[in-house]
């Protein structure tokens, strides 16, 4: 046979070789499949099924009713209680996410210094995260108890006016945000710390040689170089913050976010709609509206955190690629 023909017809593979080929190509997919199978069953299916539910008149106990199209979305968006929950959620979200991320970054920067017993301190900041959220909420609810809690006692001792933590909107948001901050600041600090640890030390050294002080190095090197991690932390805090449920629920377990819905969040509104009010269709619609809100806010935050970090990075001369590599090798 000519070489041309030989080239055309592939050499006959043995079964073993075929199997090996197949193994080479397909195995990775099998390795990663457990996650995707789990996700399809426990994640994707409920998400899609929720769309289906949201389009029907769906009574919690009696089940599926008539097809109503987008009426559930319309009703929810026209419900003042939804918007009340919406504003409460954002209020609590801002009161928790912003101070939390600032504190976490500062704590991470401090832990990033050469301090004694660094592992001890790093573990300590994670302790609040280990505590069960329910326990945290119960303890803080006692601390903020308007009638005889320690804060109320301190205010009374100082002759300051009483604060109605459980009744007035802003104080209740503050109390709930405190629980969230207490729990999550250390967690975020550790993630940011990991990112800071990955910054080549030589960059700091050369900046120091150039006369940059601590603050300047933090602002112009640390912040820009942990940008991807910062974006990750911002996005996860956004998702968590907008879905906040445990803390406001336990702040007053007898109601769904306060007797007057002073601290009813969107998820609590959803819960109230689904269970005591038994309107599953509208609860599903609310879930989808929340989903869209989270995506929207996530995108805005992504853009914002990119912008802020990029502006900063413009002010500093990026380290040369070669020095990068050298450090990467030596460290």
């Amino acid at each position: 046979m000519s070489t041309l023909q030989a080239g055309r017809s592939a050499p006959q593979l043995t079964f073993r070789q075929k199997l090996s080929n197949f193994d080479y190509k397909a195995s990775p997919y099998f390795y990663i499949s457990p996650f995707f199978i789990m996700f399809a069953v426990l994640g994707l299916f409920p998400i899609i099924y929720t769309v289906n539910v949201s389009l029907y008149d769906w009574h919690l106990l009696k089940g599926q009713g008539d097809f109503v199209g987008l009426k559930n979305f319309e009703l929810t968006l026209n419900d003042p209680m939804f918007w009340n929950a919406f504003f409460n959620t954002f209020s609590i979200f801002l009161l928790s996410a912003v101070p939390q991320l600032i504190m976490a970054t500062i704590i991470a920067a401090v832990l990033d210094q050469a301090i004694r017993a660094s592992t001890f301190w790093r573990m300590t900041v994670l302790l609040p995260y280990i505590a069960a959220p329910v326990a945290v909420a119960v303890i803080f609810t006692q601390i903020f108890n308007q009638h005889g809690g320690p804060i109320a006692g301190a205010l009374e001792a100082l002759d300051l006016p009483e604060i109605r933590w459980g009744f007035d909107p802003f104080p209740s948001h503050l109390a709930i945000a405190t629980m969230v901050n207490w729990r999550w600041t250390g967690y975020n600090a550790l993630i940011l710390l990991a990112a800071m640890q990955a910054i080549p030390r030589d960059v700091y050294e050369s900046a120091a040689l150039d006369g940059a002080g601590r603050v300047r190095r933090f602002r112009s090197i640390t912040i820009p170089m942990i940008r991807p991690t910062m974006i990750f932390v911002v996005i996860t805090s956004t998702i968590g913050g907008l879905q906040i449920f445990t803390e406001p629920t336990l702040f007053d377990p007898a109601s769904y976010g306060g007797a007057n819905r002073q601290f009813q969040t969107i998820v609590l509104y959803l819960y109230e709609m689904a269970f005591p009010r038994r309107d599953f269709g509208r609860a599903a619609a609310t879930a989808w509206i929340l989903f869209l809100i989270v995506i929207l806010v996530g995108l805005v935050n992504y853009a914002l955190s990119r912008m802020i970090a990029t502006q900063d990075i413009k002010n500093v001369r990026p380290p040369k690629a070669s020095s990068h590599r050298a450090i990467g090798g030596s460290k």
Partner: protein, 430 residues
């Protein structure tokens, strides 16, 4: 819609049932356990129902049965838990406590519970108060709940505090001071004003208790007798009562909800409207066995007799041991056990014989008050109101917030209060 539910429930039950068969090696014949193969029956209750004192006795009498009990904080928690599990078609305990406030919702999906007529409830039908038995029966005549307690109401009060304020502090004296059998809400609040003026302390902890009692006293509550038509807008009596509550907000302590034990111990308020099951809540604020706290119980209710609440026991259709579970539920709802629960926590029996059994009982916690006799008196002429499907939503989420704001001094006139309630009503119950 109902057909759909039954089918879903049936299939889930079938799956659960077959899983159970496989797990138990196909030996589950539902004939009751034996001591070497015990059957575990789960039961979910809420609040202080007192029936838990009977579990040990039942286990002892029935060696093959083990009872696994869950008690939820209050009726609201019980409601949400039951709804979620009925919706899921699985997860309900074998025996489930149902509160009167959400009974009508359960009645609409009563096929989630077994018909107790299949388990012989009709044989003992006559032991219950007539209306109590009817409440646990749905439109098709299925009996889905065995009556447990009823909620006739008296007044829990702090005799020591009244006496310190120069007011009558003994049971008869206090009852007489607010008008005895002719006591009205006006005369009750008048007494409260005197108390607050003399002592400088709040009279009651939260107006929602007065409100609920008042609504329960009416012939028709949030719903008309048909259980479907709302009875709120344009209801002059309700409006007037809300006005009265606003006028007397100054003698309230502005405390919320049920968990006010610390404040009770600190003498921050002096009176509770006490349906029978409330006795357990009040004594529960103190350590077990505590007496001499100053709490007492009076044979009086402003505005006349009323029933507030009362529970039922249902057996879930998804139970693996329906026969055994029904047996347990009917036993727990029998007169002797109702009486034992009353002695333990105060819920007043819904059976005639049960009431006779407790007629002479006294409560050491409430200054040796003859609670059995008082509740027997308070239960005279009581007939439960017809509750509608959204009754508990209206109580908790329409009037609850408004009363809360009144007690916090945020609403100071009756018209505003009423209008806010109507606005909420229209938003929540369209």
């Amino acid at each position: 819609m109902t057909v759909k539910l039954s089918r879903r429930t049936a299939s889930v039950a079938a799956i659960a049932g077959s899983a159970a068969l496989i797990l138990s090696g196909c030996s589950s014949t539902d004939n009751g356990g034996s001591s070497d193969k015990p059957i575990t029956l789960t039961i979910t209750t809420f609040g202080t129902m007192g029936i838990d004192v009977n579990y040990a006795a039942y286990e002892k009498e029935n060696p093959g049965i083990k009872i696994e009990a869950t008690n939820l904080a209050d009726g609201g928690a019980g409601r949400d838990d039951a709804y979620a599990k009925i919706a899921a078609g699985t997860g309900l305990s074998d025996v489930v406590a149902i509160e009167e406030g959400w009974l009508s919702t359960i009645a609409a999906v009563s096929d989630a519970f077994v018909d107790l007529r299949d388990h012989g409830i009709e044989d003992t039908k006559d032991q219950w108060l007539d209306w109590k038995y009817k409440q646990g029966t749905d439109a098709e005549g299925r009996v889905f709940g065995a009556g447990l307690d009823i909620g006739p109401q008296g007044l829990c009060f702090r005799g020591d505090l009244f006496e310190a304020a120069g007011l009558p502090g003994d049971r008869e004296g206090f009852a007489a001071a607010i008008g005895g059998e002719d006591a009205t809400w006006e005369s009750f609040f008048e007494f409260g004003q005197q108390y607050t003026a003399a002592s400088g302390k709040a009279f009651y902890h939260n107006p929602s208790f007065m409100w609920n009692s008042f609504v329960n006293q009416q012939e028709e509550g949030y719903y008309k007798k048909d259980g479907v038509t709302l009875n709120i807008e344009g209801n002059e009596a309700m409006k007037a009562q809300l006005d009265l509550i606003v006028e007397n907000a100054n003698i309230g302590a502005g405390l919320g909800g049920w968990g006010v034990g610390e404040q009770a111990k600190n003498d921050e308020f002096a009176v509770y409207v006490c349906p029978s099951w409330m006795l357990g809540v009040v004594s529960g604020y103190y350590d077990a066995g505590t007496t001499g706290t100053g709490w007492d119980f009076a044979d009086v209710l402003p505005g006349g007799a009323a029933n507030w609440g009362g529970a039922f026991l249902g057996v879930s259709e998804s139970s693996e041991h329906k026969e055994e579970a029904a047996k347990l539920a009917l036993w727990l709802a029998a007169p002797a056990q109702q009486a034992a629960a009353f002695e333990a926590a105060g819920p007043f029996p819904s059976t005639i014989e049960g009431q006779e059994l407790v007629a002479d009982s006294t409560s050491a916690f409430f200054n040796d008050a003859p609670v059995g006799q008082i509740f027997t008196n308070r239960a005279k002429g009581v007939v439960a109101q017809v509750k509608g499907e959204e009754d508990s939503v209206i109580q908790d989420n329409v009037f609850g917030p408004v009363l809360d704001r009144i007690s916090q001094g945020e609403i100071t006139d009756g018209d505003t209060a009423w209008n806010e309630a109507i606005t909420l009503l229209n938003q929540l119950v369209p």
